[in-house]
């Protein structure tokens, strides 16, 4: 006996997740086609935060463009500062004094800690564990206090400039930072235990949003996303800048490629950042922090690009000069832009709840995606 069944189809539902949605982390819109709760297709719509920063930069002298970069990746603005500062230094052949290089590494790693803490908190919140959010923001608050003592700002620091860092560390900074790191490592272990050992958390993360090695490479994934997919690609190691070649740190690599792997890469990276910060504090030589740049800075015609490892991945800045005071083109390679591009390939077949987990694990910042 054969049993013939006719499929009862119901029309799919188009759901606009965002631009106002609690879990898109900014103004991202995902147009998803749903069959029940299963996603059939997804088309990310970006540009809600597009401010034309790159165009604005073309109308300003090189060094005036650094503050704009604070608004790119606003969770790690020092890392964005570094990208354009390095590009300006390369195009103008400026060498940063050694102490300035150490300070940059120090500041960037502190900022990486802050950014990854935001990831930890928001990712847990996306999965429903609200408590970790407040814990990690409490730690971040102390980092912000430290950075405020250094730079005077809490979010948009504008403190890594072309040529170095404008001031030296404030008094007692090193001791405060060390004291913080001493406590932070225990706190981090605690939060890590709270989440990593949790069965629900694992069920929501393991095997979800798998990005294969091939996919990660072809889509230009970088940073923790690539390293969660088994690609040991870290600009700090493959093309060391500043004094990263003198630092001793490991690059965490996980091969699973799922949300859990990306989460673990970031947690491990925080430990490594703490290592780097301690080394910087220990080994930093005395001296100037900033190279003198001419008042009227006119680099020779040509183009230059920088490669830096921001908390989100490879952040690079492309500059082209025609010999005048202003750049003719500034372009940022925003890692989040590439990671969002992965979504149409990753999402089909997953459930609505997984979209949130996947998006959270990519840790995108729409400021740098939209520019």
């Amino acid at each position: 006996m054969t049993l013939t069944t006719t499929e009862i189809t119901s029309p799919g539902m188009t759901l606009n997740m965002g631009p106002q949605h609690p879990s898109t982390h900014g103004v991202l819109r995902l147009v998803v086609e749903l069959d029940g709760e299963i996603i059939q297709s997804c088309r990310p719509v970006i540009g809600y935060l597009h401010r034309g920063l790159e165009k604005m930069m073309e109308a300003r002298p090189y060094r005036h463009n650094v503050p704009f970069t604070d608004r790119l990746d606003y969770l790690a603005s020092l890392n964005s500062n570094l990208a354009i500062a390095q590009a300006i230094e390369r195009i103008g052949n400026v060498t940063v004094p050694e102490r300035g290089q150490y300070l940059r590494v120090l500041l960037c790693e502190i900022n990486r800690l802050a950014s990854h803490l935001v990831f930890l908190g928001t990712f847990a919140t996306d999965l429903g564990a609200t408590t970790v959010f407040l814990y990690s923001f409490r730690e971040r608050e102390r980092i912000l206090d430290l950075l405020e003592a250094m730079t005077g700002a809490r979010l948009t620091y504008n403190w890594i400039r072309a040529g170095g860092v404008p001031t030296d560390l404030p008094e007692g900074f090193g001791e405060r930072l060390t004291a913080f790191l001493d406590e932070f490592q225990f706190a981090l272990d605690e939060y890590d235990r709270l989440l990593t050992g949790n069965r629900i958390f694992r069920a929501r993360c393991e095997g979800i949003g798998v990005i294969s090695r091939e996919m990660a490479v072809a889509y230009g994934a970088s940073g923790p996303v690539a390293r969660g997919s088994g690609i040991a690609y870290d600009i700090r190691k493959v093309a060391p800048y500043d004094v990263y070649d003198r630092m001793e740190f490991d690059v965490p690599v996980y091969t699973e490629g799922d949300c859990m792997a990306r989460y673990r890469v970031r947690v491990e990276e925080m430990r490594q950042s703490a290592r780097i910060i301690r080394q910087c504090l220990r080994e930093m030589p005395e001296g100037e922090t900033m190279a003198k740049l001419p008042k009227i800075f006119k680099p020779p015609p040509g183009e230059a690009y920088s490669r830096t490892e921001s908390p989100r991945g490879e952040l690079s800045c492309y500059l082209s000069s025609d010999g005048s005071m202003n750049p003719t083109r500034v372009h940022f390679r925003a890692p989040s832009f590439f990671h969002l591009g992965l979504l149409p390939a990753m999402l089909p077949g997953v459930k609505v709840a997984d979209v949130i987990a996947i998006l959270g694990s990519l840790d995108t910042v729409l400021g740098e995606v939209d520019r």
Binding site: G47, A218, Y219, A221, Y233, Y305, Y318, F338
Partner: protein, 163 residues
């Protein structure tokens, strides 16, 4: 002269308008016609294996558009910078989004900001779908040097192009 540049020159000697090889970085300038075969080789030749698209952007020199690709080989960690000049009046180039899916959005961005057309891009038929950063119905390409915004009254519809 690096081994990578030698290998590329063996196959595409005459297509390269300019070539410069360093230890970690190779810079090539090619004509738009040679772009596709060159890239196919760059991607598939096991000795080159430039599987990673690191960046791509365009700039407007006033006379022409310069496309700038940055590729990385994951095996040798070698960087390859590829420059293509396009005529300003009819900027069109072949799309490489099928070789590196990561290029899909970058090409859309170049269309969005510069109006460069990418033949073979999955969204090329519909300009509204090609737009990525700007609103779908924006008029003009703001990163061109001759773009002069005129406020049309509705910020959502974008300024009109004057010329």
């Amino acid at each position: 002269m690096s081994a990578i540049l030698t290998r590329i020159q063996q196959q595409f000697g005459e297509a390269l308008l300019q070539a410069q090889g360093g230890e970690n970085e190779t810079r090539l300038t090619v004509s738009p016609d040679a772009l596709r075969p060159l890239c196919e080789t760059l991607r598939s030749d096991p000795a080159l294996a430039f599987g990673y698209i690191a960046d791509m952007t365009a700039r407007d020199t006033g006379e022409q558009f310069i496309l700038w690709y940055r590729l990385v080989s994951m095996s040798s960690l070698h960087t390859l910078i590829l420059t293509v000049a396009l005529p300003r009046d009819h900027p069109q180039v072949v799309s490489l989004a099928d070789l590196w899916p990561g290029l899909n959005w970058l090409e859309r961005e170049c269309f969005d900001l510069f109006g460069i057309r990418f033949a073979g891009h999955p969204d090329q038929e519909d300009p509204a779908r090609m737009r990525i950063l700007l609103p779908e119905d924006w008029e003009g390409f703001p990163f061109r040097k001759d773009y002069a915004p005129v406020f049309s009254g509705n910020p959502l519809h974008g300024p009109q192009e004057t010329n």
